[in-house]
Amino acid sequence: MIRLEKRPQPSQAWSLATPLVAVLATMIAGGLLFAALGKDPVEAIRPIFWEPLFGEFAFYYRPQLLVKGAPLVLIAIGLSLGFKAGIWNIGAEGQYIMGALFGAGVGLAFYPLEAWYIFPLMVIAGGFGGWLWASIPAYLKTRFGTNEILVSLMLVYVAEQFLASMSLGLMKNPEGFGFPGSRNLQQYDSAHNAELIAGSGMHWGVVAALIAVIFAYVLLNRHMVGYHIRLTGEAPRAARFAGFNPTRLILFCLGTSGMLAGLAGMFEVSGPSGQVSIDFNVGYGFTAIIVAFLGRLHPVGILLAGGLMALTYIGGDIAQSNLHLPSSAIQVFQGMLLFFLLAFDLLTNFRISLGKPEVA
């Protein structure tokens, strides 16, 4: 018979291999799905993974990978710090919205003044907005022992109401004929998070994401705070006995992840998106949770995982228009990726053994 046997030590090899195995399994299962829909599976999967990178129009899609991947990586890096310590910030989507509102709010307040200091102020405001929003569940958890999963998630819906209110009221474009949505920051030079090199997709948000990766790597491997985070996650009791201050750790992890999510929102609203509108948020805060786990909560892993997710989004849209695949089939395909990852993850901590269990 087949049994699962707990490994004495988590397997290093499987830990690295599971993302690759999961991607392969997704391709196979996805191929079967597409075949069931009457498409050639190879022809359907090729545009998703190949076309954006090496296809005829890759010169356009490659920069788009950066645009799509940067907010995912930036948010996921922040989330991974908390996740490692067992602190679950599920509300990055709300922090992303608040960061965008604070950042855009500062920019719009200065309109039409052109000055070099406007954009840096917006960056600070964006980070502050996200930090503030994440500090609510952090404070409630440390003060009253509330569950940060619930509080941070609920605050997403509060943030969405703020977003709608701002789009329809305070931040509405006075020259917009009564339609909701703010002025387009792309047309306001001092507030525009423009591409650093035209056509490269490289904007300040991409730079920030790369800095965050390096920062997180150093923090986790070379810094005392990183050690606290890892120890708290792996052995909470030991961490307590060692005299670590859990309150400070909660405030740090939630605050940092909120700040990074807020920055992601600010870079998005002032760059690729351009305006505060009711439908500004498209789920980056939730997708980043998948990215964090797909990247094994490791900074470099997250960087790669963010790229992979961006690839499936961009490739998915290509597959839709070229092959007439329904968008729900693409979503199922993305869902499979997480499903297989979690399923194969089991092999990191367990091994499959055949035969009867030995009597201890």
């Binding site: 129009f57 010169f59 009564g178 056509g199 998005e268 351009g274 009711i278 498209v282 961009i314 849209d317």
Partner: protein
């Protein structure tokens, strides 16, 4: 080389390739905000696409992408269609306005058509929309006659001029036939979310509404009304005939097919120019779905008479005297609203309670 140049040269190269193959079909792209199976807004646009295919057969090739988020994703999908050689691209949601114009500036040879917007930054962009408020006038007439509780529930999507216009038009005509009528308005802040729409309908029914009007795209309010019994509804964007003869007693149907066929033909003939189209019942862009037998014959006749007068232009849905909500005069007796005011309408008419969310 700048991306813009690169794209232009790519577009030019594709243009040359197209010219070389005279037999090459005209490629038409559609970008949808919802799923094609929403039974409402996106469904009708996709019916329009199918009509184009049926009309031109092998001479056209259509592509579409559904569930495209407004913002950078839309811009990428539109660019992708343009890169892959589309000759004409319809973008079918208000939020695609800036992305459409951005992409249009980079692809001067491709024609773009944006639904419900007002920006035409370059001369390869057209805008089009339908005078849905004419349909609301017919709907309001039926609703005013049919309500027994004198409470009409209205599910608004977003408080934008198009939706406010619909509320005002429905209210004016309901009030005309039933002076005691009262409107209760719930804002769903979504175009398509069956769960939210069903909740909104239930709340309105609990507050005593026995007629539900909706400006959202799913059939969930119809189902909620059916479950509650004794409540009537109207199909929105699509006929929603499967809920007839009751609760669905009639509908406003968006019929994009004639427009899409005409515009595709114009591209084939080389006669396409940038225009702003705002058509109503007369041009066939707004259809009134079959009025069911649940409506008494004399009410049906009155509704059809209004429809006919709107279609031939003898009657305008906003004809004075009409005051604004705060009591100030808007239209004098016999005066009709101008398109500019209608396009940016951000006030309720006198008699409607509540505020437009700000």
């Amino acid at each position: 080389m700048k991306l813009t140049n690169l794209m232009t040269s790519a577009a030019v190269a594709l243009g040359l390739a197209t010219a070389a193959l005279a037999e090459d079909p005209t490629k038409v792209g559609f970008v949808y905000v919802g799923p094609v199976g929403d039974g409402g807004w996106t469904y009708e646009h996709d019916q329009g696409r199918k009509a184009v295919v049926a009309e031109f057969g092998d001479k056209v090739e259509t592509v579409y992408v559904e569930n495209v988020a407004e913002g950078p994703d839309a811009e990428r999908v539109i660019t992708q269609m343009a890169l892959q050689g589309a000759d004409l691209i319809f973008t079918t949601s208000f939020g695609y306005m800036d992305p459409t114009n951005n992409v249009a500036a980079k692809f001067p040879k491709v024609k773009f058509e944006h639904a419900t917007g007002y920006k035409r930054n370059t001369d390869n962009v057209s805008t089009y929309s339908a005078r849905f408020y004419e349909g609301r006038a017919v709907q309001g007439t039926i609703a005013g006659h049919m309500t027994e509780s004198n409470i009409i529930g209205y599910i608004g999507s977003y408080p934008i001029p198009e939706v406010v216009r619909g509320i005002n038009s429905a209210y004016i005509h309901a009030k005309k036939v039933n002076p005691d009528v009262e409107f209760k308005i719930v804002w769903a802040f979504t175009w398509f979310d069956p769960a939210k729409e069903a909740d909104a309908a239930k709340v309105l029914i609990e507050q005593g509404a026995d007629v539900i009007l909706q400006h959202t795209d799913s059939t969930a309010p119809q189902a909620a009304a059916q479950a509650a019994g004794n409540v009537i509804t109207f199909g929105q964007a699509s006929d929603m005939a499967e809920y007839g003869p009751k609760p669905r007693v009639s509908s406003i149907i968006d019929d994009w097919a004639p427009y899409y066929i005409a515009r595709t033909k114009a591209v084939m003939d080389g006669t396409w120019t940038s225009t702003d189209t705002w058509d109503g019942i007369g041009a066939g862009m707004v259809g009134i779905g079959e009025i069911s037998d649940a409506v008494p014959a004399e009410v049906k006749a009155e509704a059809l008479a209004i429809k006919a007068s709107l279609a031939d232009g003898s009657y305008h849905a906003f004809t004075g005297p009409i005051n604004k909500q705060d009591g100030s005069a808007w239209l004098a007796a016999g005066e009709t609203a101008d398109d500019g005011t209608l396009a940016g309408m951000n006030f309720y008419v006198e008699g409607i309670d509540g505020d437009i969310p700000q």
